[in-house]
């Protein structure tokens, strides 16, 4: 396997031992937990331990130990279309949100059969632990995580800090594209659209009932000053503003400058104290096409333990184009 040189390693995150076993300390160990998810057995960083579902995050130390683990499939998902080809983590496969996760004709996600085929192509089985990472503070990694969640895949994790932190800490990279033996992933019974996804009608009803809506776009988009993200193409939205009742909380608020997720205490400050959300609230998050709000969905659901968060993936490119729907333009 060919590696190219990268900057020197920096000290890894301190570990907190939370249980004891006869295995080496400072390790993670996965096995099926009560929810059918991988469960933490031995140790994790103090930061991770504070999250509601600490098993959904891994750090560099864990991943370094599992780069060649046949039970783990590393998946890179980026915004930059060619970034994977420039180099990626050893044994990582590439899943592109447009090519692999979306239906190529209808505005929708792939169906159950296509999901099974995609997983099979990458040697993924329902027992495989899939670890996502990518550029932009794991924005697209969280999007892929959410889509895998739509199909009920249980063993999902995200590399905290994503691609950039891995490189900054001197992690190995390669241009070798791995090939895994094809598997026969069973076709999921159904896509969980009714559980973690909100459609236009759901969101309109949500807004009309005054239930919590989180707009994770930039403040300029929320105010209606612009109809696209700064630095990004205008994707054909005719009206600017936000869904009535929505509160603004840009997705990046949940990420540190080094692309890692903020601590649980900081996230509680942002979402619970700042936005006034409660863990049993019925929450809908949205952005422009449902990608940035996947990040927020991940934070609320897995890091803070909210039980009922849905991602409105139609988001502003649907709402801002619908005839006759209410639009609010308040400042915050």
């Amino acid at each position: 396997m060919a590696f190219y040189s990268l900057p020197p390693t920096t000290p890894s995150t301190p570990l907190l031992i939370i249980a004891v076993s006869n295995k080496r300390p400072g390790k993670w160990d996965d096995f099926a937990g009560d929810r059918g998810c991988p469960r933490l057995e031995v140790a994790m960083s103090a930061k991770f331990a504070a999250y509601a579902n600490p098993e959904v995050l891994v750090d560099r130390a864990w991943l370094t130990e599992h780069l060649d683990d046949p039970g783990v499939r590393l998946v890179e998902s980026n915004e930059d279309i060619l970034l994977y080809d420039m180099g990626h983590l050893p044994n990582a496969v590439h899943i592109d949100w447009r090519r692999d996760l979306q239906h190529q004709t209808v505005r929708d996600y792939i169906d159950e059969a296509a999901f099974a085929e995609m997983c099979g192509k990458h040697g993924i089985t329902p027992e495989t632990t899939v670890v996502f990472y990518g550029d932009k503070s794991n924005w697209w990694a969280c999007y892929a995580f959410w889509v895998f969640s739509l199909f009920g895949h249980q063993r999902l994790k995200v590399l905290d800090g994503g691609r950039d932190l891995w490189i900054a800490e001197g992690g190995p990279m390669t241009k070798d594209v791995p090939a895994f033996a094809k598997t026969n992933y069973p076709i999921p019974e159904k896509r969980r659209d009714d559980e973690i996804r909100a459609f236009f009608a759901d969101t309109l009803a949500h807004s009309n009932r005054g239930l919590p809506l989180v707009d994770v776009r930039s403040l300029g988009e929320f105010r209606g000053d612009i109809t696209h993200m700064p630095e990004y193409p205008q994707e054909g939205v005719l009206r600017g503003g936000h869904i009535p009742g929505a509160k603004s909380c840009p997705w990046k608020t949940a990420a540190n400058d080094d692309d890692t997720f903020r601590s649980r205490a900081e996230l509680e400050e942002i979402y619970e104290k700042g936005l006034g959300l409660k863990k049993d609230d019925d929450v809908v998050a949205y952005c422009r096409i449902g990608e940035r709000s996947s990040h927020t969905w991940f934070v609320l659901t897995h890091l803070l333990g909210f039980q009922n968060v849905r991602n409105y993936d139609g988001s502003w490119t649907e709402w801002g184009n619908m005839v006759g729907v209410p639009v609010e333009k308040s400042a915050e």
Partner: protein
């Protein structure tokens, strides 16, 4: 028969058009990796420097233009670290492909060559990215020409 594109750019177009999709991507990566070769160099003086951060791009891009005694243009381009791979590739393509062209030739290069290099799919997905550097180069040439007239 005269072509629509400067000869060096036409050569690159021909190179890309003969490639299957996988090799086309590999070629784009190769061009992207070589974008640094076209960065401004210490000690060089430029006839025009246009360094800015636009909404259309994820980081600052500096376009540096020199025009030689024969009217041939020579570009250097500085790309910020967050600039996307496709923009890096197009920078490399254009710095090589437009080397020695005249101001008028650069400004009249039709944009329809871009899909021939990156493929229709990438153009569809990242239309602003693939056209951005060409737009900046044309703007630099136009500004330089205006300054020459006013002088």
């Amino acid at each position: 028969m005269a072509t629509l594109y400067p000869a060096k750019l036409e050569e690159i177009l021909t190179l890309f058009e003969g490639l299957p999709e996988t090799e086309r991507r590999e070629m784009l990566i190769s061009f992207a990796e070589n974008a640094g070769q076209h960065a401004p160099r210490d000690g060089e003086v430029y006839d025009l420097e246009d360094v800015r951060k636009d909404d259309e791009c994820t980081d600052e891009v500096g376009v540096y233009l020199n025009v030689d005694d024969h009217g041939g243009v020579h570009f250097r381009v500085q790309l910020g670290p967050k600039v996307q791979t496709l923009t890096r590739a197009m920078t490399s393509v254009l710095c090589r492909g437009l080397e020695g062209s005249t101001l008028e030739e650069v400004q009249s290069v039709p944009q329809d060559f871009v899909p021939r290099i990156v493929g229709a799919e990438l153009v569809r997905l990242r239309s602003q990215t693939v056209y951005y550097v060409l737009t900046r180069m044309k703007a630099a040439c136009a500004l330089y020409a205006r300054r020459q007239v006013s002088n």
